[in-house]
Amino acid sequence: MRRFNHKLEQQQAPAFFVRGPSAFARLAFFSTLSLVLMATDARLQYLASVRQSLQTLIHPLQLLANKPSQIYRDVDEYFTLHNNLIDENQRLKQHALQQDIALQKLNTLAFENDNLRQLLQANKAIVESSIVAEIMHVGRDLFTKKVIVNRGETHKVVAGEAVVDATGVIGQVTRVYPLSSEVTLITDKSLAIPVQIERNGLRAIAFGHGRDNTLDLPYLPINVDIQRGDRLVTSGIDGVYPAGLSVATVSQIEITPDSPFARIVCVPTGGIENHRQVLLVSIPQVEAMPESAIESPAKLDVRPINAQAKPPKIPKPIPPPKPNNTSKPHASE
């Protein structure tokens, strides 16, 4: 036995250079480490704080990397032609005038609306607060559609907020870092947004397509009343997006005889890859509804207002918006 051991030791290759463990051992060790990290990050929430603190660490580097393009833009802006500025000024003035007129009407309407609500003893309309943010850069992962904006936890951004630009919804805040936050665009495969067809009020859920900059409306039957050019707006029943924001326009409807569902493709109206400034709209918060408003059946007509509440806060008499929500209590009973 002893001789055998001796023999084994003799066979080992002499080490000329001290290089530590072999490449294969290192591969095994670090691969395992990566796999463990992946599993932890994907399934558990432990690494969120680690990610946040590391993100703070690389934030200065990010600002440094953004500097060249920013300087280029600044220089470019500095040398804009005088005429262009005058043109733009005129256009903006005109735009402001139009909006002022609309705003005057809005004030009157808001006042009238308040009065009507008081008469109906209904809830106050939800007022969302919002933060203006600037897009720092497009997400680097080619498999997802994301952008990073320059407002974060220190600016009171909360994960889940809707992100809107002048022309429509562009996405939702999915991760908040101390000084920046990550916005998943509505064209991302993992994002769904409850919509309503403006023309007839039909409700549906739009999913991002992932590869092209389009949205899908799946699971709608082939006889659904939908036409090319229909505008989709947020329905507001999810408690995330304020109701009535423009989301997309239906661009293509395909009906195949072997499928019970129509394939509906929509093009987002928001300038998903054009604008630099976006608005982060906070999640609407409402207090619990007064009892009297629930009990009398007449008040149920004010559905859209109640429906804007967060789903858990909706009192029982009002049917929850999604069918699978209704099925859950039965399953648990």
């Binding site: 250079f17 290089r19 530590g20 490449a23 294969f24 290192r26 591969l27 670090f30 691969s31 480490l33 990566s34 796999l35 463990v36 990290l37 992946m38 932890t40 990050d41 994907a42 690494l47 990610r51 590391l54 993100q55 690389i58 580097l61 990010q62 440094l64 990397a65 953004n66 060249p68 393009s69 720092m136 850069h137 497009v138 997400g139 680097r140 992962d141 080619l142 498999f143 997802t144 994301k146 990073i148 991760r175 990550e182 495969k189 993992s190 992932g210 590869r211 890859e273």
Partner: protein, 159 residues
């Protein structure tokens, strides 16, 4: 080996990381070569005693952080690539320029394939062959660097 080499390694990796952090968008983002991996491969070939699988893994973690994906994806891809680079490092020194280019291309491709597999597992779609464009751009960058006089350890250059 010069003791100052470690400084060079850190500095070059830092520069590559800044290049990664530049606000790429649109088509440029699609064909952007993997600067960080190129620098790692360069040091794996030149100084495997200083830059090894562990460094590749650590740098991969930082790339994961920058891309915002699940932690460990780039780290695993870089680890596997680094393993292949290190295990054939001694033979690689004997390769001539063209052979080395091909080898670097294979290494870049390995990392992309590993990454594609990991992303597909987590539910992503393959976006088409343009996905492999960064490998071509990377090898082009390597070629340009060699032309500019960077000594990548290729054998028959200049003979």
């Amino acid at each position: 080996m010069h003791p100052s080499k470690l400084k060079f390694i850190v500095l070059s990796l830092f520069c590559a990381y800044i290049f990664l952090l530049l606000p790429w968008s649109g088509f440029a983002l699609k064909i952007r070569p993997d600067f960080v991996l190129l620098v790692i491969i360069f040091w794996l070939i030149r100084a495997p005693n200083l830059c090894n699988v562990g460094i590749a893994w650590l740098v991969g973690l930082f790339v994961d952080l920058a891309t915002g994906g699940t932690f460990g994806q780039y780290a695993l891809a870089y680890t596997i690539t680094a393993f292949f680079a290190v295990s054939y490092q001694k033979r690689l020194v004997l390769f001539n320029g063209t052979q080395q280019l091909f080898y670097v291309f294979l290494l870049l491709l390995i990392s992309q394939v590993v990454l594609l597999m990991l992303k597909t597992f987590s539910g992503a779609h393959f976006m088409g062959w343009v996905y492999f464009a960064p490998s071509f751009m990377g090898v082009l960058l390597w070629f340009i660097a060699v032309l500019c006089g960077l000594n990548t350890g290729g054998r028959s250059r200049g003979k």
